[in-house]
């Protein structure tokens, strides 16, 4: 689940997540961005839902429920268009990323579908987490 660092983005939107307003704002921005990049309705829904899951994790787990969502356009070497969303926080970090990626695993009274579900909705996903320092989740979707 690695994301190659080949992306060259143009304009980038940044949404500060500081509670459930941030969840709604983040998914609205990402849906608008996906729409602007020519993604279809189903992909718009997948992307907005994935962002909603990740932003919700920030509110639920991160220190003070604060984090950041950065959205930008991608252009692959083969000219495909994509979208990249980076969700980061300075929370406690994920002790075991492999475990967190498993269906049904949750430490926060959720359904445990957030991270594995997000992985299924997107084309690429990588998680960089350090205990006590925070978590950065990067997701990408390419237009077909």
């Amino acid at each position: 689940m690695s994301v190659p660092p080949d992306a060259s983005g143009a304009d980038e939107h940044c949404v500060l997540v500081t509670g459930e307003d941030g969840i709604v704002a983040a998914r609205q921005y990402s849906r608008e961005a996906a729409k602007g990049l020519g993604f279809g309705l189903v992909d718009q829904s997948r992307i907005a839902t994935a962002v909603s899951e990740l932003a919700r994790n920030v509110v639920r787990y991160a220190t003070g429920g604060r984090g950041e969502v950065r959205i930008r356009a991608l252009r692959a070497p083969d000219a495909r268009t994509g979208i990249e969303i980076v969700v980061c926080d300075e929370g406690p970090g994920i002790p075991n990323v492999d475990q967190a990626m498993r269906d049904g695993f949750s430490t926060g009274h959720g359904l445990g579908m957030g991270l594995p579900g997000t992985r299924r909705l997107m084309d690429e996903m990588s998680i960089d987490s350090a205990l006590g320092r925070g978590t950065t989740v990067t997701i990408r979707k390419w237009r077909r």
Binding site: V24, L41, V42, Q44, S45, S52, G110, R120
Partner: protein
Amino acid sequence: MARVPIVRLGEVLIATVQDELYDQDALQLQEDLGGLLERGSARGVLLDFSAVATVDSFLARLIGVVAATARLLGAETVVVGLQPAVAVTLVELGLALPGVRTALNADKGLALLSSRPPDVRSS
């Protein structure tokens, strides 16, 4: 944020969920429906999702909780108007709303509720 309006049509409570539902509104809806069902005479709940573009795991879970709560209070729940893109996303997310009845639109949902045999508790 905006409270989800609930109207009564015969024995059915109809909640039309707006786009970009806030968590707080969703929880309020659950509470409002519980209160209305407690007062009796409703035996159906119709949740209209036709205006909702994003259903994440929180909202999907809440739909299940509302349906289960309503059932314990003697009412059947039908979710109507799910957008195709939302349906695809929910299946991929792994949350296909098991145990929740669905119908394509409000008309079909109401037909489903009215065709239901009388409630055992009220007979």
